[in-house]
């Protein structure tokens, strides 16, 4: 899915690295180095996602996003920041950011988050039933079935499956799962995701000859309809 992305980043090397990564993933990128340019472009062009570095000259990232939100620009935005203070993330989200990524980060992490953000508008319809292939979950009844067969899931497993299914066909990273399923906004040193995913996988894929939850090496996990 090619997206039109606006990147605000003043450090040339970082900017070039991100641009290259985004282009390689098939996205179209407009890069600018000052807050003023970013406001000009973002109010004008129709972007799918804004990537905003928090510390840039002239108008800083926080102010840029606040200004954009006030003028009614609702484009999903990711903050990039070297600041990982206890309060920085909350401040960023309060300014109107939809996601927050601390430098240094891996390109796969950024790409996964961009994909997740671009998908967001569809969520506004708030479906009560999500289907991926023959797998189906009912958000109201909180039950899951595969090919009509009921699957017993614990609350956390259901939450994990729901998140994966909402982003079906997209790579979901370990940190995205930690943040969204467990509300862990730090990087635990133990790999706690693996165990949960393998248990979920065992429940969903047991008795079927195709695996729905795939491990994407060096990036994360993805749920997809078996082909």
């Amino acid at each position: 899915m090619a997206l039109k992305i606006l990147l605000l980043e003043d450090d040339q090397q970082t900017s070039a690295f991100i641009e290259k990564g985004l282009r390689a993933a098939g996205h179209v990128v407009d890069a600018c180095a000052t807050g003023r340019d970013a406001i000009f472009h973002a109010t004008d062009g129709a972007y799918a996602v804004l990537i905003i570095d928090r510390m840039v000259p002239s108008v800083d990232g926080l102010a840029v996003l606040k200004a954009l939100r006030i003028t009614g620009v609702k484009t999903p935005a990711i903050f990039l920041t070297a600041m990982d203070g206890v309060e920085d993330r909350v401040e960023g989200l309060e300014a109107g950011a939809d996601d927050y990524l601390v430098k240094p980060f891996s390109m796969s992490e950024l790409l996964a988050r961009i994909a997740a953000l671009a998908r967001r508008p569809h969520l506004a319809q708030a479906p009560t039933i999500i289907r991926v292939g023959d797998l189906e979950i009912d958000l109201l009844k909180r039950n899951a079935t595969r090919a009509g067969r009921a699957i017993e899931l614990q609350a956390q497993e259901f939450k994990l499956l729901e998140y994966l299914m909402r982003h079906a066909g997209q790579v979901v990273t370990r940190t995205m799962l930690l943040e969204n399923v467990w509300s862990f906004h730090f990087d635990p040193q133990t790999n706690i995701i693996e165990g949960h995913v393998s248990r979920l996988r065992a429940k969903i894929d047991r008795g079927f000859d195709s695996d729905m939850i795939k491990t994407v090496r060096g990036a994360g996990y993805m749920i997809d309809a078996p082909t």
Binding site: D84, G85, V86, E87, V90, P104, S106, A155, Q156, W182, S183, F184, H185, F186, D187, P188, Q189, T190, N191, I192, E194, G195, H196, R199, R217, G218
Partner: protein, 462 residues
């Protein structure tokens, strides 16, 4: 360091101020005495003159005015010391008797200058001031009695001299004393300053010698020494941490370097990719250490307290339990939780989550295969108390205080993974929340207890 002279010492300056005050005071005192004595002597003179005059008039009334001239002559002879001078003029203004000049002839008080009276054979040169008292008698003649007041003037002059010299003397004495005391002070202060200079130059174990001379000075030097102790402890801590950072980062960076070097020889693309992933993981490890250090620094600086809110600690711990249950199971350990529902504390939910995650990870890492890890939350005497316990090797009592220091690791755990920062972060977060962190022996194993302040106290604290 330039040596100070005694003149620049505080003691000398104080003495100088005192000397001036003394001098002014002495001058004022002597001046007051002078005025009082002069006035008293003046009154005495006046009274004597009036007495003499009345005596003469009494004689005149008793024996007739004509005898007055004789009487004056007689008195001039009798009163050998001759304190009195006389003048008697008849009604026509002719001198009848007396030695005052005719200009003194007037009623009432007067003052005039006459040639100093001397014995007949002595030369007379000076002038003396004479105070006179004149009365007009019934027959119209004038009687004037006078007295030499040069004694009074002399007394005054003498008193003025005394004032001058005593003022000068006191000032000089005070200055000398000041200089002496100033010198003593300076010598003692010099010793202190020399010690401080030595410490500034790098002799960190040196301390300030006592000044002596009083409790206030002892307290000053004692506090100085306590301050030096504290500074040194802080500096040692800082040095320790920077050395530890350098050491702890050099090891993984060195490993990474070897790793990258050996990658040069790889030709198989798959093996190369694997090696790159490995290298990235190692870099991430180093970054995680930096991240944890920054975090600890921020939390110790009090960051986050502004955003404190009521946190359902039960929910936080449930979440941590659910998150780590499978990881513990996969590692062949059991992890159970006994969490009282809906207990609240004031705090930052993210930091509290991280605190418990760190404690569980610590237990998972250090307690061996088959270990039992348990987490409890309860309200004990109104205070929310959480514990995380394991039955692993534990931490010797003597080390309990040190394991919360950055990078501190027990020798036994040197080889296991981890940054050595987990418990430091736990301690920092606990401190931020005003919670008391206690490490205990779980015999066997480690029991970490966290007691949160009850609401009442935490409100007062804010």
């Amino acid at each position: 360091m330039r040596r100070l002279s005694a003149f620049q010492s505080g003691a000398f300056r104080l003495a100088l101020i005192f000397a001036v005050i003394f001098a002014v005071g002495a001058t004022a005192l002597v001046a007051a005495v002078n005025v009082a004595v002069s006035r008293y002597a003046g009154h005495a003179t006046d009274a004597a003159l009036v007495d003499e005059s009345q005596l003469l008039r009494g004689e005149a009334r008793a024996h007739g005015p004509d005898t007055l001239g004789q009487l004056i002559l007689k008195r001039q002879r009798i009163v050998h010391a001759r304190p009195y001078l006389y003048l008697l003029l008849d009604p026509l203004g002719r001198r009848v008797a007396g030695d005052l000049p005719a200009t003194a002839a007037r009623a009432g008080w007067g003052e005039l200058s006459v040639a100093e009276f001397t014995e007949p054979n002595e030369p007379s040169d000076g002038q003396v001031t004479v105070r006179t008292y004149g009365v007009r008698l019934a027959d119209g003649s004038v009687l004037v009695v006078g007295r030499d007041t040069s004694d009074l003037t002399e007394l005054s002059d003498w008193l003025r001299l005394v004032t001058l010299w005593s003022g000068l003397g006191i000032t000089i004495l005070a200055l000398g004393g000041g200089l002496l005391i100033g010198g003593i002070f300076l010598r003692r202060m010099d010793r202190v300053n020399q010690a401080l200079q030595r410490i500034m130059d790098g002799a960190q174990d040196d301390r300030v010698p006592p000044i002596g001379m009083g409790a206030e000075f002892s307290r000053l030097t004692r506090n100085m020494n306590l301050m030096l102790d504290r500074t040194q402890a802080l500096m040692d801590g800082l040095r320790q941490v920077s050395t530890d950072i350098a050491h702890d980062l050099r090891t993984p960076l060195g490993r990474l370097r070897q790793h990258l070097e050996s990658m040069r020889d790889l030709s198989d693309p798959e093996a190369l990719e694997c090696a790159i992933d490995d290298a990235l993981a190692q870099v991430d490890e180093v970054l995680a250490t930096f991240h944890a250090l920054l975090r600890i620094g921020q939390i110790e600086g009090g960051a986050g307290r502004a955003r404190f809110e009521a946190v359902n600690l039960s929910a936080v711990m449930e979440r941590v339990h659910l998150a780590y249950e499978t990881a513990a199971e996969d590692a062949g350990k059991s992890f159970d939780a006994e969490i009282a529902p809906d207990l609240e504390v004031r705090g930052d939910p993210q930091l509290l989550t991280q605190l418990f995650a760190n404690l569980i990870e610590n237990a998972l890492r250090h307690a061996g295969e088959g270990a039992e890890i348990s987490m409890r939350l309860a309200s004990v005497d109104g205070a929310v108390t959480a514990t995380v316990a394991d039955n692993g090797p534990g931490i010797p009592d003597a080390e309990h205080g040190r394991v919360v220091q950055r990078f501190y690791r027990l020798d036994a755990s040197r080889s296991t993974a981890g940054s050595g920062l987990g418990l430091s972060l736990v301690a920092a977060i606990a401190e931020l929340h005003g919670a008391e962190l206690r490490l205990r022996d779980n015999s066997p194993g480690l029991l970490v207890e966290l007691q949160f302040p009850n609401e009442q106290r935490s409100i007062v604290m804010r």
